[in-house]
Protein backbone atom coordinates (compact mmCIF):
# COMPACT_ATOMS: atom_id res chain seq x y z
CA UNK A 1 0.00 0.00 0.00
CA UNK A 2 1.43 3.34 -1.00
CA UNK A 3 1.25 6.16 1.54
CA UNK A 4 -1.39 8.79 1.00
CA UNK A 5 0.07 11.54 -1.17
CA UNK A 6 0.69 14.82 0.61
CA UNK A 7 -0.44 16.75 -2.43
CA UNK A 8 -2.66 15.36 -5.15
CA UNK A 9 -3.42 17.22 -8.33
CA UNK A 10 -6.37 15.58 -10.03
CA UNK A 11 -6.92 16.63 -13.65
CA UNK A 12 -6.11 20.22 -12.77
CA UNK A 13 -6.41 22.79 -15.56
CA UNK A 14 -5.86 26.49 -15.89
CA UNK A 15 -7.02 28.63 -18.77
CA UNK A 16 -6.05 32.26 -18.21
CA UNK A 17 -8.81 34.72 -18.97
CA UNK A 18 -8.49 36.03 -22.50
CA UNK A 19 -6.51 33.03 -23.75
CA UNK A 20 -7.67 29.96 -25.64
CA UNK A 21 -4.96 27.43 -24.94
CA UNK A 22 -4.70 26.22 -21.37
CA UNK A 23 -1.48 27.05 -19.52
CA UNK A 24 -2.00 23.82 -17.60
CA UNK A 25 -4.06 21.06 -19.09
CA UNK A 26 -5.54 18.19 -17.08
CA UNK A 27 -2.48 17.72 -14.88
CA UNK A 28 -2.55 14.75 -12.57
CA UNK A 29 0.33 14.38 -10.14
CA UNK A 30 0.88 12.94 -6.66
CA UNK A 31 3.55 14.31 -4.36
CA UNK A 32 4.55 12.11 -1.46
CA UNK A 33 5.15 13.35 2.08
CA UNK A 34 8.72 14.40 2.72
CA UNK A 35 9.92 14.33 -0.87
CA UNK A 36 11.32 17.03 -3.07
CA UNK A 37 9.47 16.88 -6.35
CA UNK A 38 11.07 19.04 -9.01
CA UNK A 39 8.99 20.44 -11.83
CA UNK A 40 11.32 21.04 -14.72
CA UNK A 41 10.62 22.05 -18.28
CA UNK A 42 11.26 24.73 -20.87
CA UNK A 43 10.32 28.33 -20.14
CA UNK A 44 6.61 29.01 -20.56
CA UNK A 45 5.54 25.38 -20.20
CA UNK A 46 3.41 26.16 -17.16
CA UNK A 47 5.65 25.33 -14.19
CA UNK A 48 4.89 28.51 -12.25
CA UNK A 49 1.22 28.23 -13.10
CA UNK A 50 1.19 24.68 -11.75
CA UNK A 51 2.93 25.74 -8.55
CA UNK A 52 0.60 28.70 -8.03
CA UNK A 53 -2.40 26.45 -8.47
CA UNK A 54 -1.32 24.42 -5.45
CA UNK A 55 -1.56 27.36 -3.04
CA UNK A 56 -4.39 28.89 -5.05
CA UNK A 57 -2.51 32.05 -5.95
CA UNK A 58 -4.50 31.41 -9.10
CA UNK A 59 -7.74 29.50 -9.23
CA UNK A 60 -7.93 26.34 -11.30
CA UNK A 61 -10.47 26.33 -14.11
CA UNK A 62 -10.86 22.57 -13.78
CA UNK A 63 -9.94 19.61 -11.59
CA UNK A 64 -9.44 19.19 -7.87
CA UNK A 65 -6.53 19.74 -5.50
CA UNK A 66 -6.08 17.62 -2.38
CA UNK A 67 -3.76 18.21 0.57
CA UNK A 68 -3.46 15.35 3.03
CA UNK A 69 -6.45 13.80 1.33
CA UNK A 70 -8.67 16.86 1.90
CA UNK A 71 -10.12 18.64 -1.08
CA UNK A 72 -8.85 22.22 -0.75
CA UNK A 73 -10.11 23.45 -4.10
CA UNK A 74 -12.76 25.54 -2.37
CA UNK A 75 -11.34 26.42 1.05
CA UNK A 76 -10.40 30.00 1.98
CA UNK A 77 -7.18 30.62 0.04
CA UNK A 78 -5.64 32.94 2.66
CA UNK A 79 -6.01 30.31 5.37
CA UNK A 80 -4.63 27.70 3.00
CA UNK A 81 -1.54 29.77 2.16
CA UNK A 82 -0.57 30.19 5.80
CA UNK A 83 -0.11 26.41 5.88
CA UNK A 84 2.12 26.41 2.80
CA UNK A 85 5.56 27.99 2.52
CA UNK A 86 6.10 29.90 -0.72
CA UNK A 87 9.47 31.05 -2.01
CA UNK A 88 9.90 32.94 -5.28
CA UNK A 89 12.93 33.87 -7.35
CA UNK A 90 12.48 37.61 -6.73
CA UNK A 91 12.22 36.82 -2.99
CA UNK A 92 9.89 39.75 -2.24
CA UNK A 93 11.15 40.59 1.24
CA UNK A 94 9.29 43.53 2.77
CA UNK A 95 11.77 46.41 2.43
CA UNK A 96 10.17 48.43 5.24
CA UNK A 97 10.56 45.66 7.80
CA UNK A 98 13.62 44.31 9.51
CA UNK A 99 14.78 40.78 8.76
CA UNK A 100 13.29 39.63 12.08
CA UNK A 101 9.96 41.28 11.27
CA UNK A 102 9.96 39.69 7.82
CA UNK A 103 10.52 36.23 9.24
CA UNK A 104 7.84 36.80 11.88
CA UNK A 105 5.16 37.56 9.26
CA UNK A 106 3.15 34.35 9.31
CA UNK A 107 3.49 33.61 13.06
CA UNK A 108 2.26 37.17 13.69
CA UNK A 109 -0.75 36.62 11.44
CA UNK A 110 -1.48 33.43 13.31
CA UNK A 111 -1.37 35.50 16.52
CA UNK A 112 1.39 33.58 18.25
CA UNK A 113 2.63 34.91 21.57
CA UNK A 114 5.40 37.51 21.31
CA UNK A 115 7.96 35.36 23.13
CA UNK A 116 7.24 32.36 20.99
CA UNK A 117 7.57 34.46 17.83
CA UNK A 118 10.94 35.89 18.74
CA UNK A 119 12.27 32.48 19.72
CA UNK A 120 11.02 31.09 16.43
CA UNK A 121 12.64 33.93 14.44
CA UNK A 122 16.00 33.27 16.09
CA UNK A 123 15.68 29.55 15.45
CA UNK A 124 14.85 30.09 11.78
CA UNK A 125 17.66 32.56 11.15
CA UNK A 126 20.10 30.16 12.79
CA UNK A 127 18.73 27.39 10.63
CA UNK A 128 19.51 29.25 7.41
CA UNK A 129 22.94 30.23 8.67
CA UNK A 130 22.34 33.88 9.59
CA UNK A 131 23.23 35.03 13.10
CA UNK A 132 20.01 36.55 14.49
CA UNK A 133 21.94 39.05 16.59
CA UNK A 134 23.75 40.34 13.53
CA UNK A 135 21.01 40.17 10.91
CA UNK A 136 17.74 40.33 12.87
CA UNK A 137 17.73 44.11 13.04
CA UNK A 138 18.91 44.74 9.50
CA UNK A 139 16.76 45.78 6.59
CA UNK A 140 16.55 43.80 3.33
CA UNK A 141 18.53 46.43 1.40
CA UNK A 142 21.47 45.64 3.68
CA UNK A 143 21.69 42.01 2.52
CA UNK A 144 23.39 40.31 -0.42
CA UNK A 145 21.26 38.33 -2.86
CA UNK A 146 22.22 35.03 -1.27
CA UNK A 147 21.49 36.29 2.24
CA UNK A 148 18.15 37.69 1.11
CA UNK A 149 17.13 34.33 -0.33
CA UNK A 150 18.12 32.62 2.94
CA UNK A 151 15.76 35.03 4.68
CA UNK A 152 13.14 34.23 2.04
CA UNK A 153 13.43 30.55 2.92
CA UNK A 154 13.36 31.28 6.67
CA UNK A 155 10.27 33.45 6.25
CA UNK A 156 8.49 30.73 4.27
CA UNK A 157 9.28 28.26 7.07
CA UNK A 158 7.78 30.72 9.59
CA UNK A 159 4.92 28.73 11.03
CA UNK A 160 6.52 25.38 10.22
CA UNK A 161 4.37 24.52 7.19
CA UNK A 162 4.59 20.91 6.09
CA UNK A 163 4.57 21.96 2.43
CA UNK A 164 6.96 24.30 0.66
CA UNK A 165 6.51 25.62 -2.85
CA UNK A 166 9.64 27.05 -4.40
CA UNK A 167 9.64 28.80 -7.79
CA UNK A 168 13.19 28.96 -9.17
CA UNK A 169 14.36 30.06 -5.71
CA UNK A 170 18.05 30.14 -6.57
CA UNK A 171 17.62 31.21 -10.19
CA UNK A 172 18.82 34.80 -9.78
CA UNK A 173 21.83 34.00 -7.64
CA UNK A 174 25.41 33.72 -8.84
CA UNK A 175 26.57 30.14 -9.53
CA UNK A 176 28.90 29.79 -6.56
CA UNK A 177 26.40 31.10 -4.02
CA UNK A 178 23.68 29.04 -5.69
CA UNK A 179 25.70 25.87 -5.23
CA UNK A 180 26.13 26.50 -1.52
CA UNK A 181 22.47 27.46 -1.08
CA UNK A 182 21.45 24.22 -2.80
CA UNK A 183 23.72 22.18 -0.56
CA UNK A 184 22.57 23.91 2.61
CA UNK A 185 18.98 23.53 1.58
CA UNK A 186 19.40 19.80 1.01
CA UNK A 187 21.05 19.48 4.41
CA UNK A 188 18.18 21.41 6.00
CA UNK A 189 15.65 19.22 4.22
CA UNK A 190 17.37 16.12 5.68
CA UNK A 191 16.27 17.40 9.10
CA UNK A 192 12.96 19.00 8.21
CA UNK A 193 11.49 16.44 5.80
CA UNK A 194 9.09 18.94 4.26
CA UNK A 195 7.07 18.08 1.22
CA UNK A 196 8.59 20.34 -1.40
CA UNK A 197 7.57 21.23 -4.91
CA UNK A 198 10.55 22.87 -6.53
CA UNK A 199 10.37 24.58 -9.92
CA UNK A 200 13.40 25.07 -12.12
CA UNK A 201 14.20 25.23 -15.82
CA UNK A 202 17.72 23.90 -15.16
CA UNK A 203 17.95 20.13 -15.56
CA UNK A 204 21.17 19.97 -13.55
CA UNK A 205 19.52 21.71 -10.62
CA UNK A 206 16.58 19.32 -10.99
CA UNK A 207 18.88 16.30 -10.87
CA UNK A 208 20.66 17.67 -7.84
CA UNK A 209 17.62 18.77 -5.83
CA UNK A 210 14.99 16.23 -6.76
CA UNK A 211 14.01 13.02 -5.03
CA UNK A 212 11.77 12.84 -8.05
CA UNK A 213 11.61 14.93 -11.16
CA UNK A 214 8.58 15.63 -13.31
CA UNK A 215 9.60 16.65 -16.80
CA UNK A 216 6.94 18.92 -18.19
CA UNK A 217 6.18 19.80 -21.78
CA UNK A 218 3.80 22.39 -23.15
CA UNK A 219 0.72 22.98 -20.98
CA UNK A 220 2.40 21.16 -18.11
CA UNK A 221 1.97 17.78 -19.75
CA UNK A 222 4.03 15.31 -17.70
CA UNK A 223 6.38 13.46 -20.04
CA UNK A 224 8.14 11.55 -17.32
CA UNK A 225 7.98 11.66 -13.53
CA UNK A 226 10.56 9.56 -11.77
CA UNK A 227 13.80 9.53 -9.82
CA UNK A 228 16.70 11.37 -11.45
CA UNK A 229 18.55 8.06 -11.80
CA UNK A 230 15.79 6.44 -13.79
CA UNK A 231 15.15 9.47 -15.94
CA UNK A 232 18.82 9.70 -16.85
CA UNK A 233 19.09 5.98 -17.46
CA UNK A 234 15.88 5.67 -19.39
CA UNK A 235 14.32 8.79 -20.90
CA UNK A 236 10.88 7.68 -22.05
CA UNK A 237 10.59 9.83 -25.16
CA UNK A 238 12.44 12.19 -27.47
CA UNK A 239 11.22 15.24 -25.61
CA UNK A 240 12.76 14.02 -22.37
CA UNK A 241 15.89 12.89 -24.16
CA UNK A 242 16.45 16.24 -25.80
CA UNK A 243 15.51 18.15 -22.65
CA UNK A 244 17.98 16.35 -20.42
CA UNK A 245 20.48 16.90 -23.20
CA UNK A 246 23.89 15.57 -24.02
CA UNK A 247 25.99 13.68 -21.51
CA UNK A 248 22.93 12.16 -19.94
CA UNK A 249 24.49 8.79 -19.31
CA UNK A 250 27.49 10.39 -17.69
CA UNK A 251 25.28 12.43 -15.36
CA UNK A 252 23.85 9.13 -14.17
CA UNK A 253 27.29 8.17 -12.91
CA UNK A 254 26.93 10.78 -10.20
CA UNK A 255 24.36 8.64 -8.39
CA UNK A 256 26.61 5.69 -7.60
CA UNK A 257 29.54 5.52 -5.26
CA UNK A 258 32.80 3.75 -5.89
CA UNK A 259 32.56 1.98 -2.55
CA UNK A 260 29.48 0.06 -3.73
CA UNK A 261 31.35 -1.54 -6.63
CA UNK A 262 33.01 -4.89 -6.79
CA UNK A 263 36.52 -3.48 -7.30
CA UNK A 264 39.37 -5.09 -9.20
CA UNK A 265 42.30 -6.10 -6.99
CA UNK A 266 45.22 -3.76 -6.53
CA UNK A 267 48.54 -5.46 -7.44
CA UNK A 268 50.81 -3.12 -5.60
CA UNK A 269 52.80 -0.15 -6.85
CA UNK A 270 55.11 -2.28 -8.98
CA UNK A 271 52.73 -4.98 -9.96
CA UNK A 272 52.46 -5.79 -13.64
CA UNK A 273 48.84 -5.97 -14.60
CA UNK A 274 47.93 -7.02 -18.10
CA UNK A 275 47.78 -3.46 -19.29
CA UNK A 276 51.35 -3.04 -18.22
CA UNK A 277 51.15 0.04 -16.03
CA UNK A 278 49.33 0.45 -12.75
CA UNK A 279 46.99 3.44 -12.40
CA UNK A 280 48.44 6.56 -10.86
CA UNK A 281 45.24 8.41 -9.91
CA UNK A 282 43.54 7.90 -6.57
CA UNK A 283 40.06 8.56 -5.20
CA UNK A 284 38.29 7.67 -1.97
CA UNK A 285 35.58 5.07 -1.60
CA UNK A 286 32.85 7.67 -1.11
CA UNK A 287 33.61 9.30 -4.46
CA UNK A 288 30.96 8.98 -7.16
CA UNK A 289 31.53 7.06 -10.36
CA UNK A 290 31.50 10.41 -12.11
CA UNK A 291 34.47 11.54 -10.06
CA UNK A 292 36.19 8.23 -10.80
CA UNK A 293 35.70 8.84 -14.50
CA UNK A 294 37.17 12.31 -14.22
CA UNK A 295 40.22 10.89 -12.48
CA UNK A 296 40.66 8.20 -15.14
CA UNK A 297 40.49 10.80 -17.87
CA UNK A 298 42.83 13.14 -16.08
CA UNK A 299 45.53 10.49 -15.67
CA UNK A 300 44.77 8.85 -19.05
CA UNK A 301 45.11 5.45 -17.30
CA UNK A 302 41.57 4.18 -17.88
CA UNK A 303 41.49 3.14 -14.24
CA UNK A 304 41.99 4.60 -10.81
CA UNK A 305 43.09 3.40 -7.39
CA UNK A 306 40.44 3.49 -4.66
CA UNK A 307 41.72 4.34 -1.19
CA UNK A 308 40.04 3.14 1.97
CA UNK A 309 39.47 5.23 5.11
CA UNK A 310 43.06 4.82 6.26
CA UNK A 311 44.37 5.92 2.87
CA UNK A 312 45.49 2.41 1.85
CA UNK A 313 44.65 1.13 -1.66
CA UNK A 314 41.51 -1.01 -1.45
CA UNK A 315 41.22 -1.87 -5.11
CA UNK A 316 41.00 -0.44 -8.57
CA UNK A 317 38.01 0.96 -10.42
CA UNK A 318 38.13 0.40 -14.17
CA UNK A 319 36.27 1.82 -17.12
CA UNK A 320 34.32 -1.41 -17.46
CA UNK A 321 32.91 -0.85 -13.98
CA UNK A 322 31.39 2.36 -15.21
CA UNK A 323 29.84 0.94 -18.35
CA UNK A 324 28.51 -2.00 -16.32
CA UNK A 325 26.97 0.40 -13.82
CA UNK A 326 25.30 2.38 -16.59
CA UNK A 327 23.95 -0.75 -18.23
CA UNK A 328 22.60 -2.04 -14.91
CA UNK A 329 20.83 1.27 -14.30
CA UNK A 330 19.34 1.20 -17.78
CA UNK A 331 18.20 -2.41 -17.38
CA UNK A 332 16.67 -1.62 -14.01
CA UNK A 333 14.81 1.37 -15.42
CA UNK A 334 13.61 -0.52 -18.48
CA UNK A 335 12.37 -3.37 -16.32
CA UNK A 336 10.59 -0.83 -14.11
CA UNK A 337 8.80 0.73 -17.07
CA UNK A 338 7.99 -2.67 -18.56
CA UNK A 339 6.38 -3.67 -15.28
CA UNK A 340 4.45 -0.43 -15.16
CA UNK A 341 3.18 -1.03 -18.64
CA UNK A 342 2.30 -4.63 -17.88
CA UNK A 343 0.39 -3.52 -14.80
CA UNK A 344 -1.70 -0.97 -16.65
Amino acid sequence: MAVEPKIRLDHVSKVYPGTDTPAVSELTLDIDPGEILVLVGPSGCGKSTTLRLINRMIEPTGGRIYLDGDDVTDVNPDQLRRRIGYVIQQIGLFPHQTIAENVATVPKMLKWEKKKISARVDELLDMVGLDPRVYGGRYPKELSGGQAQRVGVARALGADPSIMLMDEPFGAIDPITRESLQNEFLRLQDELRKTIVFVTHDIDEAIKMGDRIAILGKQSVVHQADTPERILAYPVDDFVRSFIGAGTAMKGLAFERVGDLDLAPFDGPNGNGESGAEPTGTITADATLYEALEEMLRTADGKTIVLDDSGEPAGVVELSHLSDALRTAQDEARRHYDELEAAS
Partner: protein, 219 residues
Protein backbone atom coordinates in the same frame (compact mmCIF):
# COMPACT_ATOMS: atom_id res chain seq x y z
CA UNK B 1 17.01 99.37 6.26
CA UNK B 2 14.34 101.91 6.88
CA UNK B 3 11.82 99.65 5.19
CA UNK B 4 12.72 96.76 7.38
CA UNK B 5 12.46 98.88 10.49
CA UNK B 6 9.07 100.29 9.62
CA UNK B 7 7.93 96.77 8.67
CA UNK B 8 9.05 95.45 12.01
CA UNK B 9 7.43 98.24 13.96
CA UNK B 10 4.23 97.53 12.03
CA UNK B 11 4.43 93.86 13.08
CA UNK B 12 5.09 94.80 16.69
CA UNK B 13 2.30 97.37 16.64
CA UNK B 14 -0.19 94.84 15.26
CA UNK B 15 1.21 91.74 16.89
CA UNK B 16 -2.17 90.50 18.14
CA UNK B 17 -3.74 90.86 14.71
CA UNK B 18 -0.76 89.26 12.96
CA UNK B 19 -0.79 86.38 15.38
CA UNK B 20 -4.50 85.83 14.99
CA UNK B 21 -4.40 86.02 11.20
CA UNK B 22 -1.47 83.60 11.06
CA UNK B 23 -3.31 81.20 13.33
CA UNK B 24 -6.44 81.41 11.21
CA UNK B 25 -4.39 80.90 8.06
CA UNK B 26 -2.77 77.85 9.61
CA UNK B 27 -6.13 76.48 10.71
CA UNK B 28 -7.56 76.85 7.22
CA UNK B 29 -4.53 75.16 5.68
CA UNK B 30 -4.26 72.30 8.16
CA UNK B 31 -7.99 71.53 8.02
CA UNK B 32 -7.98 71.53 4.23
CA UNK B 33 -4.85 69.39 3.98
CA UNK B 34 -6.10 66.83 6.48
CA UNK B 35 -9.41 66.46 4.67
CA UNK B 36 -7.70 66.37 1.27
CA UNK B 37 -5.24 63.74 2.50
CA UNK B 38 -7.93 61.41 3.81
CA UNK B 39 -9.98 61.87 0.64
CA UNK B 40 -7.11 61.60 -1.85
CA UNK B 41 -5.39 58.62 -0.23
CA UNK B 42 -8.69 56.74 -0.07
CA UNK B 43 -9.45 57.67 -3.67
CA UNK B 44 -5.91 56.76 -4.72
CA UNK B 45 -6.20 53.33 -3.14
CA UNK B 46 -9.52 52.79 -4.87
CA UNK B 47 -8.49 53.90 -8.37
CA UNK B 48 -4.94 52.54 -8.40
CA UNK B 49 -5.93 49.12 -9.65
CA UNK B 50 -8.64 50.50 -11.98
CA UNK B 51 -6.97 52.08 -15.02
CA UNK B 52 -10.02 53.93 -16.32
CA UNK B 53 -11.06 55.37 -12.96
CA UNK B 54 -7.45 56.25 -12.31
CA UNK B 55 -7.14 58.24 -15.53
CA UNK B 56 -10.43 60.04 -14.91
CA UNK B 57 -9.62 60.90 -11.29
CA UNK B 58 -6.21 62.27 -12.18
CA UNK B 59 -7.59 64.25 -15.13
CA UNK B 60 -10.35 65.87 -13.09
CA UNK B 61 -8.11 66.75 -10.15
CA UNK B 62 -5.67 68.19 -12.69
CA UNK B 63 -8.42 70.36 -14.20
CA UNK B 64 -9.20 71.76 -10.73
CA UNK B 65 -5.68 73.12 -10.58
CA UNK B 66 -6.08 75.01 -13.84
CA UNK B 67 -9.25 76.85 -12.78
CA UNK B 68 -8.29 80.40 -11.74
CA UNK B 69 -8.33 80.55 -7.98
CA UNK B 70 -10.60 83.55 -7.65
CA UNK B 71 -13.23 81.98 -9.91
CA UNK B 72 -13.14 78.69 -8.05
CA UNK B 73 -13.42 80.45 -4.70
CA UNK B 74 -16.40 82.50 -5.85
CA UNK B 75 -18.09 79.43 -7.31
CA UNK B 76 -18.87 78.17 -3.83
CA UNK B 77 -20.36 81.38 -2.42
CA UNK B 78 -23.86 80.62 -3.73
CA UNK B 79 -23.69 77.26 -2.00
CA UNK B 80 -22.36 78.18 1.43
CA UNK B 81 -22.29 81.98 1.52
CA UNK B 82 -19.18 84.12 1.97
CA UNK B 83 -16.47 83.45 4.57
CA UNK B 84 -13.84 80.78 5.07
CA UNK B 85 -16.11 77.97 3.89
CA UNK B 86 -16.09 78.65 0.13
CA UNK B 87 -12.34 79.28 0.34
CA UNK B 88 -11.71 75.95 2.08
CA UNK B 89 -13.82 74.08 -0.45
CA UNK B 90 -11.84 75.53 -3.32
CA UNK B 91 -8.54 74.87 -1.54
CA UNK B 92 -9.63 71.29 -0.93
CA UNK B 93 -10.03 70.76 -4.67
CA UNK B 94 -6.58 72.24 -5.33
CA UNK B 95 -4.96 70.05 -2.71
CA UNK B 96 -6.22 66.78 -4.19
CA UNK B 97 -3.94 66.30 -7.18
CA UNK B 98 -0.48 66.16 -5.53
CA UNK B 99 -1.64 63.71 -2.87
CA UNK B 100 -3.70 61.62 -5.25
CA UNK B 101 -0.96 61.39 -7.82
CA UNK B 102 1.68 60.46 -5.26
CA UNK B 103 -0.59 57.88 -3.65
CA UNK B 104 -1.18 56.22 -7.01
CA UNK B 105 2.48 56.40 -7.98
CA UNK B 106 3.57 55.14 -4.57
CA UNK B 107 1.26 52.14 -4.78
CA UNK B 108 2.23 51.52 -8.43
CA UNK B 109 5.87 51.39 -7.44
CA UNK B 110 5.44 48.65 -4.87
CA UNK B 111 7.32 45.68 -6.32
CA UNK B 112 4.99 42.98 -7.66
CA UNK B 113 7.25 40.40 -6.01
CA UNK B 114 6.58 41.97 -2.61
CA UNK B 115 2.83 41.81 -3.14
CA UNK B 116 3.14 38.26 -4.50
CA UNK B 117 5.00 37.14 -1.39
CA UNK B 118 2.54 38.93 0.89
CA UNK B 119 -0.35 37.14 -0.79
CA UNK B 120 1.61 33.91 -0.82
CA UNK B 121 1.93 34.04 2.96
CA UNK B 122 -1.81 34.34 3.32
CA UNK B 123 -2.30 38.06 3.82
CA UNK B 124 -5.81 39.19 2.99
CA UNK B 125 -6.17 42.13 0.58
CA UNK B 126 -6.72 44.45 3.55
CA UNK B 127 -3.62 43.14 5.32
CA UNK B 128 -1.60 43.54 2.14
CA UNK B 129 -2.76 47.15 1.96
CA UNK B 130 -2.20 48.15 5.59
CA UNK B 131 0.90 46.13 6.36
CA UNK B 132 2.74 46.26 3.08
CA UNK B 133 1.49 48.48 0.27
CA UNK B 134 0.63 51.63 2.22
CA UNK B 135 3.78 51.59 4.38
CA UNK B 136 5.82 51.26 1.20
CA UNK B 137 3.95 54.07 -0.58
CA UNK B 138 3.95 56.25 2.54
CA UNK B 139 7.11 58.32 1.97
CA UNK B 140 5.82 59.35 -1.47
CA UNK B 141 2.34 60.07 -0.10
CA UNK B 142 3.86 62.34 2.53
CA UNK B 143 5.78 64.17 -0.19
CA UNK B 144 2.44 64.81 -1.89
CA UNK B 145 0.98 66.08 1.36
CA UNK B 146 3.86 68.51 1.72
CA UNK B 147 3.38 69.85 -1.81
CA UNK B 148 -0.34 70.27 -1.20
CA UNK B 149 0.38 72.09 2.03
CA UNK B 150 2.65 74.62 0.37
CA UNK B 151 0.11 75.07 -2.41
CA UNK B 152 -2.70 75.60 0.07
CA UNK B 153 -0.81 78.06 2.25
CA UNK B 154 -0.09 80.26 -0.76
CA UNK B 155 -3.52 80.21 -2.34
CA UNK B 156 -5.30 80.59 1.01
CA UNK B 157 -4.08 84.20 1.00
CA UNK B 158 -6.93 85.11 -1.33
CA UNK B 159 -9.61 83.76 1.02
CA UNK B 160 -10.19 87.40 2.00
CA UNK B 161 -11.70 88.03 -1.45
CA UNK B 162 -14.61 85.72 -0.63
CA UNK B 163 -15.06 87.09 2.85
CA UNK B 164 -12.64 84.79 4.62
CA UNK B 165 -9.74 85.50 6.95
CA UNK B 166 -6.10 84.60 7.23
CA UNK B 167 -2.97 86.51 6.28
CA UNK B 168 -4.57 87.67 3.02
CA UNK B 169 -6.28 90.31 5.15
CA UNK B 170 -2.99 92.20 5.42
CA UNK B 171 -2.24 91.92 1.74
CA UNK B 172 -5.70 92.95 0.61
CA UNK B 173 -5.84 95.71 3.24
CA UNK B 174 -2.49 97.10 2.13
CA UNK B 175 -3.31 96.93 -1.54
CA UNK B 176 -6.59 98.82 -1.18
CA UNK B 177 -4.81 101.57 0.79
CA UNK B 178 -1.77 101.71 -1.46
CA UNK B 179 0.02 105.04 -1.10
CA UNK B 180 -1.35 105.62 2.39
CA UNK B 181 0.89 105.14 5.45
CA UNK B 182 1.77 101.56 6.36
CA UNK B 183 0.08 100.11 3.26
CA UNK B 184 3.26 98.57 1.85
CA UNK B 185 4.23 97.30 5.29
CA UNK B 186 0.87 95.61 5.55
CA UNK B 187 1.32 93.83 2.19
CA UNK B 188 4.74 92.65 3.26
CA UNK B 189 3.49 91.40 6.60
CA UNK B 190 0.90 89.25 4.85
CA UNK B 191 3.42 87.97 2.33
CA UNK B 192 6.28 87.24 4.70
CA UNK B 193 4.13 85.53 7.29
CA UNK B 194 2.48 83.41 4.61
CA UNK B 195 5.88 82.25 3.41
CA UNK B 196 7.14 81.67 6.94
CA UNK B 197 4.00 79.73 7.79
CA UNK B 198 4.49 77.58 4.70
CA UNK B 199 8.09 76.83 5.59
CA UNK B 200 7.15 76.06 9.20
CA UNK B 201 4.39 73.65 8.21
CA UNK B 202 6.71 71.99 5.70
CA UNK B 203 9.37 71.55 8.36
CA UNK B 204 6.84 69.92 10.69
CA UNK B 205 5.62 67.62 7.92
CA UNK B 206 9.16 66.73 6.96
CA UNK B 207 9.76 65.64 10.53
CA UNK B 208 6.54 63.62 10.57
CA UNK B 209 7.51 62.06 7.25
CA UNK B 210 10.83 61.01 8.71
CA UNK B 211 9.35 59.62 11.89
CA UNK B 212 6.61 57.67 10.14
CA UNK B 213 8.68 56.20 7.29
CA UNK B 214 10.62 52.99 7.77
CA UNK B 215 14.38 53.24 8.04
CA UNK B 216 14.51 50.40 5.53
CA UNK B 217 13.10 52.70 2.85
CA UNK B 218 15.66 55.46 3.16
CA UNK B 219 18.08 55.71 0.30
Amino acid sequence: MDGLQSWWSYVVGHSDDVFEATLEHAQITVTVVILATVFSVALGIYVQSRPTSKAIALAISGIFLTIPALALFALFIPLVGPGNSPAMMALFLYAILPILRNTVTGLDEVSPAVVESARGMGMSPAQQLWRVRLPLAWPLIMTGVRISTLLTVGIAAIAILVGGGGLGVFIQGGLTRLGLPNSVESVWVGTVFTVVLGLALDAVLSLIQRLTSSRGLRA
